[in-house]
Amino acid sequence: MFKPDEMVKIEVITLNRYKDKLLTYFHEEGVVEIREISVEIAQKDVPNEFYRKATSYSIGISRLTEFLKSFKTETKGGIKEFFFPTPEVKKPYKYKGIEELVKEVESFLEKVEPEIKAIEQKLNTLSTEIERIKTNISILELLSLLNIDISYLRSTKMLEIVAGLVDREKFKPLIDELNTALKGRLVHVEKEMKAQYLVVFVILRRDYDKANPILAKYSFERIEIPEGKGTPREMIREYRHLLAEKERRLEDVKREAQKLAERYHDKIAFYQELMENERDKANILSNLVRTNMTFALSGWIPKSEVLRIVKGIEKITEGKVYTSIKNPTQDELDDIPIKLKNPKPLRPFEMLTEMFGVPKYNEFDPTPILAFTYSFFFGFMLTDAIYGLIIGITAALLIKGHKHLKDGTYKFSHILLWSSFFTILMGILFGSYFGDILQRAGFKVPMLIDPLKDALIVLGIALAIGLMHLFIGYTLGFIVKLKNGEVKDAILDQLSWMLIILGVVSFILSMQGMMPDIIAKGLFGAGFVLFILSELKNGGLAALLIISDFFGFIGNWLSYARLMALALATSGIAMVINILVEMIWGVKIGPVPIGMAIALILFAGGQLFSTAINALGAFVHALRLHYVEFFGTFYSGEGKRFEPFKSKRRISKLEIEV
């Protein structure tokens, strides 16, 4: 807690023949971040034949999986799946080595790939045919305007027959130009349509070369005459028959594909995951170096895992290994990957810290403080006992349903659950249950403050909280900087503001007559002098920023007023809904109390909407107060995140055989 997890550097040298298994071991454990080694005398490792094959198979298989997936009968989505997603079954695979695995995949693909490809081919051909028939039908529908036998529209030895469409305004000039160019050796039939003319020209074959450019010039849209005999209407009937038959065939093939998907999809997806993980391993090889007989890798590992992992390495390499564990030196400080370490209840909040950026290795991990203040701010801004209850129940259900996944939703629900606790608490303090519905119904609700009547008090509380929050931030920064030996920065950048804040607080106390105002003046003055000095240390020009920086602080502080505004917005929206409900409640049409039904619907819908929109606002603005105002006082978030070399297993599970 408060500090990132301790990291040590691990270096391993062993024989090449253990490389595959050792890498797989690291990959499955997922606790080592492998870094690139730059050693002059040894050469970089490169993927061998099998790794290259695994990489190419992972791409090929993903195509097959995607094809089969589109034919798999999906488990139904919906609200139940959202709360309680069905857990994936992890199928075990006994890992003997990449060679065996690639060979197994190869033989599987040899059998299955042709089958799938054949179906895919059939599907494609059928869809192309169906498309063609549909085009033909639409052409025939067009030609049915002429009502002549289609065979007349086919060119003969002597005659060229051209059918097509031309724009209305281009029709006349086209005919004229063709007539002059061909000296009248031209017959045409036309049919007027909306914006176009359907025209059939009959010309001599030897004139065709002359006519062609003119047709192109008027953007004459030529129609391909479909094959067959008879009038368009008769042919359409035939084509429709053909279409129906082909579509039936298509359905048959699709059913075949579904069967195929049922039989092979899970297996192929399983192999895909295995291959993708092998590809991962192939990619990391360039970070390793090797000689003819040996290879070396180096990386970072959390100190707590060292014993277990070293034991594992010894076992895999049968003791033929050199392992070195080193504590990080001062030079490596910026290189150390950061893994946050907090007690279990606080761990979900690491997500929020990580989103902004992790601390440097010698900095402070703000997660524990953020966990408390974030949930509290969320609660303050939502401030309604029932809204809190709704969110709490939703979050609890999500946690229960996503327990086996440990995914983002699971962590996020934990954050919501904590926040809902504070929401309920604040709701009770402010006497807000669905806004003021109880008061409107005539009940007396115990409350500490009525936010709508005592808005100024709520504003005061919000600003006091803000001042405290900022003070905590500056104090943390002060301590961290002192610890890291940056005494001057600590005094100028952090202590100055701490004194100013203390000055403001004691000034307010002295106004109440609780202490003499000389203390307030002294504290504020000392802080302000330090602040001016800190501005001057950056050179004369930077001193121009004094005013803007000082008011920047004021702005940060006033920004906490949003705590009050959003709290009041919640009770405001709830009140608006309640007023509307009250108005409609008594409406009756004859003896039917229609108003009551509408009011109930409006109440439920409105309050749910209000919960959602206010929770969104509380979530966003609580986060903003931390990222912009709080972190601005002390936190850089410039650390490097710990990215272990780790396998991604959704449906597979690897068992390494030693």
Partner: protein, 161 residues
């Protein structure tokens, strides 16, 4: 002017300007959201939440409208400031000021919509930028919140229930 004019104008401007600005903002973001959904339907949920952000200004406007109607007694049925005494004129003018504050700061919904639409574009390329996109959009809302703080103080301490 009669007090009723101030009060009516205050209520109308608060909900009216803020509401119009919100619809501009939601519109801008909505156009981007439609594009993102066309790219990949999975973007729907994220895009919808981002699109909804510029809506809050209209809610602030609505709250202000109701508060103005409430403290002036219009909602209760009897208009408290019917006589044109000086005190009534002052109080109703404060209500106009409060309404105008929320209405004008509500204009921040338009830039918020622009930010949200950029956020939607970013989310459709990389879903991990979702929260960051929300934070960026929320920055623009700060001004509307300040406006609401100011208006609440004006209404509750300047006029009171």
């Amino acid at each position: 002017m009669d007090p009723i004019v101030y009060v009516a104008l205050g209520a109308a401007l608060a909900a009216g300007i803020a509401g119009a600005a919100s619809s501009f903002g939601v519109g801008i973001a909505g156009a981007a959201a439609a594009g993102a959904v066309a790219e990949d339907e999975k973007n729907f949920k994220n895009a919808l939440i981002l699109q909804g952000l510029p809506m809050t200004q209209s809610i602030y406007g609505l709250i202000t409208l109701f508060l103005i109607l409430l403290v002036s007694g219009i909602l209760g049925g009897t208009f408290k400031f019917a006589d044109s005494t000086q005190e009534n004129i002052i109080k109703s003018a404060i209500l106009l000021g409060a309404g105008l504050t929320v209405g004008l700061t509500g204009l921040s919904a338009i830039p918020q919509g622009i930010i949200a639409s950029a956020g939607i574009g970013a989310v459709s390329k990389n879903p991990k930028t979702f929260t960051q996109g929300i934070i960026f959009a929320a920055m623009a809302e700060t001004m509307a919140i300040f406006g609401l703080v100011g208006a609440l103080i004006m209404i509750i301490t300047g006029v009171g229930f």
